[in-house]
């Protein structure tokens, strides 16, 4: 019950010229929990829809467990950004829909989970709150017992109490079944606790991919007087990701190769947010080749 998600040169073009995503290559090993981050419109949803088989790549391939997504539908669960559900159905009927359309569906477990979350099973889906709607959509996806679970902005409608609960539940599912989870989100701080890998899209290309631990350990924030930093793409031998300078001070995010720098720099450890924001600020900073293998 494991599957690797692999993409090679994956691209999606809308119309004749606009690329939603381009030249995207990565491999997600089974059992990973991957955070997919990036600015609005940077290609996160496109990437998830390509993996879910909802849209065909314009170039490149994506494979789930060695098969194209269209042939691995029973191994992939997907929850779209708008949490689409049939508004005419009650919650219980929605669960029944999941059971009817998926051979391995865990109907009892899903019903129990929703009951535990306080979702009214006999109310129609169109009349429950946005947060409950999200819970139903995610419960359906988890109930499918898929190997790869794709969640597009799953936490956007959830209250601050429900978010960690959902993440905890995801983690429990991963541990129980060894499935892979890819979730897109803007909420970086919450992702650090549960996700082990990061995919960062920026302006339609995959800019960073790697283990979160490696990314955090492999970058440093250098703070020094403005005259030390004269631009350039390296500080010492450490490649610069992005730099911000004021009249007096320069703050530079570098990929840390443990090379010596001018002693006037103060070297700081980074958080995941520092890394992500640093890359988002400079779309041109190419993802380091050694980071590509997740």
């Amino acid at each position: 019950m494991t599957a690797t998600v692999e993409a090679t040169g994956l691209g999606k073009r809308y119309g004749f010229r606009r690329w939603g995503l381009r030249d995207c290559s990565f491999a997600v090993p089974p059992g990973s929990v991957v955070a997919l981050v990036g600015a609005n419109g940077s290609g996160k949803s496109t990437l998830l829809r390509l993996v879910a088989g909802l849209t065909r790549p314009s170039e490149g391939v994506v494979r789930v467990g060695g098969a194209v997504p269209g042939r691995a539908r029973d191994r992939i669960a997907y929850v779209g950004q708008t949490k689409p559900l049939y508004d005419g159905f009650t919650v219980a009927e929605m669960v029944r829909f999941g059971a009817a359309t998926n051979p391995g569906f865990d109907r009892r477990g899903t019903t129990e989970r929703l009951r535990g979350l306080g979702v009214p099973l006999d109310r129609s889906v169109g009349r429950i709150s946005g947060g409950q709607r999200t819970q139903v959509a995610i419960a359906l996806a988890l109930g499918k017992r898929a190997d790869v679970v794709l969640l597009d902005e799953p936490m956007a409608d959830l209250d601050p109490l429900a978010r960690p609960a959902l993440l905890g539940e995801l983690m429990a599912t991963v541990e129980e079944r060894g499935c892979t989870v890819i979730l897109s989100s803007h909420v970086l701080t919450e992702l650090t606790d549960v996700c082990d890998s990061l995919l960062l899209t920026n302006e339609g290309s995959l800019q960073v991919s790697g283990k979160i631990d490696d990314l955090v350990g492999g970058h440093r924030l250098l703070v020094g007087p403005a005259e030390v930093y004269a631009g350039g793409d390296r500080v010492g031998a450490n490649p610069v990701v992005s730099a911000r300078t004021t009249e007096r001070q320069a703050t530079v995010l570098v990929r840390w190769l443990a090379e010596p720098v001018d002693p006037r720099w103060a070297v700081h450890e980074v958080t995941l947010s520092d890394v992500v924001l640093g890359y988002l600020r400079s779309p041109a900073a190419s993802s380091a080749p050694e980071l590509v293998a997740v």
Partner: protein, 227 residues
């Protein structure tokens, strides 16, 4: 229950609204037939637009079929359906099938309503003994609605296209012209057709419906969702 049966049951459940509407429609026509004469004269005053021959196809084609596949795309529930294990075509058949069944059942129900005493004189203004053609119009319009909903992907344009398509077929001599190709000796005015003419006329409509449904299937399984 098999997956297909459960799906069909769930989709039937989503058609509760149209089912109630169809019962009301049959009841309304029954009232026209059996009720006071004033009702019957109102009905006759509506001319074509109160006839079951136009009301039933438009109700199920533009009112039920067209919004169904358009709304699937507009509300993105198509994403939900297409990411389950079931094949796209299986899901689609289960989704589509209940609508023509309900529409034909309604048409038959309305016909029975017109057979209630003492309405036989109205019966002649309505069915003209051309049952297969009436059913043909119902199936054609329903198929047109599905096709428009699938291709246009938006509710109101799909409904409008279905109404326009129905009116074109209803008021232009396109179908009679085709019938004339096959049976040149027939007078192709509905009402004076021989059984053979009725058969050919209905067959043309069934073929139209089949083609439209094939386009719907191809479009829904290959072109949708479009982003």
């Amino acid at each position: 229950m098999s997956a297909f049966a459960t799906l069909t049951w769930l989709n039937l459940r989503q058609l509760r609204g149209p089912a109630v509407l169809s019962v009301l429609l049959v009841a309304a026509y029954a009232a026209v037939v059996t009720g006071p004469l004033r009702l019957a004269s109102w009905f006759l005053a509506t001319a074509d637009f109160g006839q079951p021959a136009t009301v039933v196809p438009l109700l199920f084609g533009a009112g039920v079929a067209a919004p169904m596949l358009a709304r699937e795309q507009q509300r993105r529930t198509i994403d939900l359906a297409y990411t389950q294990s079931v094949r796209r075509s299986t899901w689609l058949v289960a989704r589509i099938l209940p609508v023509p069944v309900l529409a034909v059942a309604t048409a038959l129900g309305v016909r029975e309503a017109f057979r209630l005493p003492p309405g036989s004189y109205l019966m002649n203004t309505v069915f003209l003994g051309n049952g297969p053609i009436r059913i043909g119009f119902v199936l054609f319009t329903v198929a047109l609605g599905f096709c428009a909903g699938a291709v246009l992907g938006r509710t109101l344009p799909a409904m409008a296209a279905t109404v326009v398509g129905f009116l074109l077929i209803w008021f232009t001599p396109a179908v009679p012209a085709i019938v004339h190709l096959f049976v040149p000796e027939e007078n192709t005015v509905v009402g004076v057709l021989t059984p053979r003419g009725v058969f050919v006329y209905a067959l043309v409509l069934y073929v139209f419906a089949a083609v439209l449904l094939a386009v719907t299937f191809a479009w829904m399984t290959r072109k949708v969702p479009r982003s």
